[in-house]
């Protein structure tokens, strides 16, 4: 039986016992993939395949197959890069920052959110790599390795290089944090496989669990590692997206050269990341029957974070708009006048509606506790955040200082194709994760179920 507080909503509903936790979550890993899983996987592979063709075509023919031109040197490539990196940040926030704030509601969502982070960062990394053109040369030229060009070193003053270090560190640390959390849960699946007599599964999950046993000493070290990793990951979340924003903020173009970008981008990243976590988890909890672990309370709390970060993003938009006029700098003023009523105004107003208006709907309790509304709005938010990056990049580039260079940007099939590649990869990877890895951190959830024994009297309420 479960002993829960009379003042807080229970984090795990349905009167679950500790053994139930192992059973409910492991059975998804142990069963065969369902028809729905195969269909979703096939669709993802379809996108992946088409996108892979587009990428190969790009690498063979060069970056000219995209719609870029001399004026608009970055468009879909960097929009997608920033979009995916932003999405990744929610996972780290849930694992790391909420751990430091002792928010126990994070325990049932952090594993899936971190997996989402890792796959999102991989998707993001494909864009800077592909936009180099000669990927096979460029990917190691950014590293400070001795070479035959007189030992030409990379330019450490450039945010583009800071990005290389930031994104690779972020990916590595997130991967390690996620994997360390998985080790005890792989041991659960290993032991269940031993009991059920599945030798192959037991051996595979034993290897994955590094021979974990769960002794008190090991748990003590494990908690220490988790706390320090959380403490390291927190400034990482803030710094990585700040560095990504510096790609723009350290330039000289009106609409880019602004000090508001670091906090604006970080808030926007958390905003879009939580929306993507919601989109994924709302589906996962239904398909895997995990409604008792990822409850309406969890969804409501995530929506509240979306209101907070969405409001910060909204204030940033209004600040930018106001300062562009108040500064008296005619280029800055025109940049925003162009956004509001120029040829890309449709993109700007989509961004404003999706990002400023839709999260404000969550002030209404009925909406933020409604699954359908949350699902729809989470997708709307992600669309809006894509448009935000598109508006920042393309509208500032297509009309900057010299009117004779002004031109439009039109995406080609290969711009869209690479984006679809990343969607295909992301969903295929997430489906594989959901099938073969336990989607919820079993050990952590077990620690928050207080089971009253016969020796302690449960409180009646």
């Amino acid at each position: 039986m479960q002993v829960s507080s009379s003042v807080r909503d229970p984090l795990v509903t349905g009167g679950k016992t500790i053994a139930d936790v192992s059973h409910d979550i492991s059975r998804q890993v142990e069963g065969k993939p369902s028809r729905l899983w195969w269909m979703s996987f096939a669709v993802s592979l379809g996108f992946l395949g088409f996108g892979f063709y587009c990428i190969c075509y790009l690498l063979w023919n060069g970056v000219g197959v995209w719609g870029l031109n001399k004026t608009v040197g970055w468009a879909w490539d960097i929009t997608n890069f920033v979009w995916w990196v932003g999405i990744g940040h929610a996972g780290t926030l849930i694992s790391a920052i909420l751990l430091l704030f002792r928010q126990r509601w994070r325990m049932s969502i952090n594993r899936a959110a971190e997996a989402m982070t890792i796959f999102a960062v991989i998707c993001a990394a494909t864009f800077p790599l592909m936009h180099m053109g000669r990927l096979w040369l460029g990917f190691y030229w950014t590293l400070p390795l001795p070479n035959t060009f007189g030992s030409l070193w990379p330019n450490f003053n450039s945010p583009l290089l800071w990005d290389v270090f930031a994104i690779s560190t972020y990916f590595t640390v997130s991967l390690v944090f996620w994997y360390i959390g998985l080790i005890p849960d792989f041991a659960v699946i290993r032991d269940r496989a031993v009991v059920q007599g599945h030798k192959l599964r037991a051996n595979i999950y034993n290897a994955l669990s590094f021979g974990w046993q769960g002794g008190a000493k090991t748990w003590m070290r494990y908690e220490s590692v988790a706390l320090i990793l959380a403490g390291l990951s927190t400034p990482l979340v803030l710094s990585v997206h700040t560095i990504v924003s510096m790609d723009f903020a350290t330039s000289v173009i009106p609409g880019w050269h602004t000090t508001i970008f670091p906090p604006y981008f970080v808030a926007g990243a958390i905003f879009s990341g939580f929306a993507m976590v919601l989109t994924l988890l709302l589906v996962t909890r239904v398909v895997f029957k995990l409604e008792d672990y990822i409850t309406i309370y969890h969804i409501e709390l995530m929506n509240i974070i979306i209101i907070v970060t969405g409001s910060i993003v909204g204030i940033a938009y209004i600040t930018e708009l106001f300062i562009s006029w108040y500064s008296g700098v005619e280029y800055e003023g025109y940049a925003f006048y162009n956004r509001v009523q120029g040829p890309y105004a449709w993109a700007y107003w989509s961004m404003m509606t999706c990002n400023v208006i839709s999260p404000q709907l969550f002030w209404v309790k009925k909406i933020r506790t409604s699954i359908a509304a949350t699902f729809v709005l989470s997708i709307v938010v992600n669309i809006g955040m894509w448009f935000e990056r598109f508006v920042i990049i393309v509208t500032s580039l297509h009309r900057d200082y010299i009117p004779s260079s002004w031109t439009m940007f039109h995406p080609t099939m290969y711009d869209i194709g690479e984006y679809l590649f990343t969607f295909g990869f992301f969903f295929a990877a997430f489906l594989l994760f959901a099938k073969y890895f336990p989607v919820i951190n079993m050990a952590e959830v077990k620690s928050i179920i207080k089971v009253g024994s016969e020796k302690t009297k449960p409180e009646s309420h």
């Binding site: 016992t17 270090f165 005890p184 021979g211 046993q213």
Partner: protein, 175 residues
């Protein structure tokens, strides 16, 4: 090496009973080999008398290494080895070097600490653990008593101490 190890295994259902039980058992002079739980039990390492982990110190050492390496590398590469005039700015100035220094510090601290954790806890992908009770990852807390370290007490005595302390089962396990 572990030719013939004999253990007495106590099974506890509830973490609070376990915590009280550990205190009682240790008070009666029994040396506990280890307690295996499905999740980290708060306060367990204290009542078992374990010293605090030094992994944070290791993490700090790795971090300092990262900071120094990153700082030295950048200053040497752009300040001494091949200085270049970039935007008319100083060859090697601290503010633009901070992002890389910070990221590298975090990277080395994280990887170093996790590697140390795996080595210190003897976690290897090719190792099968010595299982005292298969339910230790499911929902039971398993206390292992090494008979070789508790020569002063008989098996029956130890079993009754465990039972009084709250163990729901007492089993024998030999390796």
């Amino acid at each position: 090496m572990d030719a013939d190890k004999n253990f007495l295994v106590g099974v506890f259902d509830d973490e609070d009973v376990l915590l009280n039980g550990v205190t009682t058992i240790r008070k009666s002079g029994v040396k506990i080999h280890e307690v295996y739980s499905p999740y980290p039990v708060h306060g367990l390492d204290e009542v078992l008398g374990y010293r605090r982990s030094r992994l944070p110190i290791a993490a700090f050492m790795f971090g300092i290494t990262g900071t120094s390496l990153a700082l030295f590398t950048q200053v040497w590469m752009l300040g001494y080895d091949w200085p270049m005039i970039i935007g008319g700015k100083n060859f090697a100035s601290l503010p633009p070097f901070v992002p890389v220094i910070f990221e590298f510090t975090v990277l080395l601290a994280a990887l170093g600490m996790v590697g140390t954790f795996l080595i210190a806890s003897d976690l290897k992908p090719y190792k099968w653990p010595r299982q005292f009770d298969i339910r230790s990852t499911e929902d039971k807390h398993i206390m292992a008593i090494d008979l070789a370290l508790n020569k002063g007490k008989s098996k029956a005595e130890l079993a009754s101490i465990l039972k009084t302390a709250g163990a729901s089962e007492v089993n024998e396990k030999n390796f």
